[in-house]
Symmetry: C2
């Protein structure tokens, strides 16, 4: 990629990030990581997330573009929080999701992908890789903490409280591990300078 093109892409991404930070749309947990990566020549962050617990209503699996968010949390939750959001369910499949932290990083050259990928993988983001190619080189830094399951259909949740408690416990445990990985990555990203 030409230096010019990369510089333009980075400028554009930085403008979006500034806007997102100003509106409070970026989870505080990942801001230090975004700042470190963006301070380095040859790298910039695009869409990133600290990891989250979500409840979605979707017409059918695979049609997530048409999903409606019933609940979304970037922290641990109580069972009641989860149950409260079910009241909004109307039509389609109700899904429960736990997603691990994810960082998308634009990289100037293939040579610069290896050091960042190595640091990500060593610090627990084992599912990281190069996601798209073509004109832009994008690294996806992510992990394997994941729950992804239907809970019910057309407004009705088919799970007992006992089962929902298990889901909340597993989800909260995943958030705890995600937070630790974010801390580790934050601590060790300095190695990219070397």
């Amino acid at each position: 990629m030409s230096d010019d093109k990369f510089a333009r892409d980075k400028n554009k991404a930085m403008a979006s990030l500034t806007q997102a930070l100003d509106s409070g749309d970026v989870d505080g947990k990942i801001i230090p990581i975004l700042k470190i990566i963006n301070s380095l020549p040859g790298y910039y962050t695009t869409s990133s997330c600290a990891g989250r617990i979500m409840v979605l209503e979707i017409p059918s699996a695979g049609e997530k573009k048409e999903a409606r968010t019933l609940g979304k949390w970037h922290h641990k939750i109580h069972l009641q929080k989860l149950k409260d959001c079910f009241h909004q369910a109307r039509r389609g499949e109700i899904w429960f999701l736990v997603q691990s932290p994810i960082f998308h990083v634009g990289v100037e050259s293939m040579e610069k992908t290896s050091p960042l990928l190595r640091i990500a993988i060593v610090n627990g983001f084992k599912n990281s890789g190069i996601k798209t190619q073509g004109k832009k080189i994008i690294i996806e830094i992510t992990s394997t903490e994941r729950v992804n399951t239907p809970l019910g259909m057309d407004g009705k949740v088919m799970c007992s409280d006992e089962y929902l408690k298990l889901l909340v416990q597993v989800a909260n445990h995943a958030i705890e591990r995600s937070d630790k990985k974010i801390d580790r990555l934050n601590t060790n990203l300095f190695q990219l300078h070397i």
Copy 2:
């Protein structure tokens, strides 16, 4: 990578594949795709799977290496099949998984990654990317059909039959869509020759 190193890696992978084919360890659905990819210079397949429904027993989330398989199917299932495998559960979390098809492909050079990734993504394997770097370049061709959820703990499944029916329905639907994507990829892989 040197041509010699790549040729050695491909030979080794082909020997493993021949052994797996002889033992019947490769799902028939994906054999044509493996044959096409391996017939092309610059590419070879490593671990690959047609997509599957699984029940695992694991000490705790994230410790999947220590998992014990209670059930595994590469085709659609009936509720009773699922319930039958629960009897083997003893200790730890019981997880239900639906995994999309996955192909790992060793590639000779970065230049050769783009054509294969493009064909994979266009034919429904939207989660594909370059997974590892370093000495080997590995493309992971995969999709987003996925269920990943705990069902219970220490031998006890906490889900009603009504809920398990929903899971089986969603899992079978994912297998159907996976099969269609495998067919599409198989039909369109010839474009790699061009």
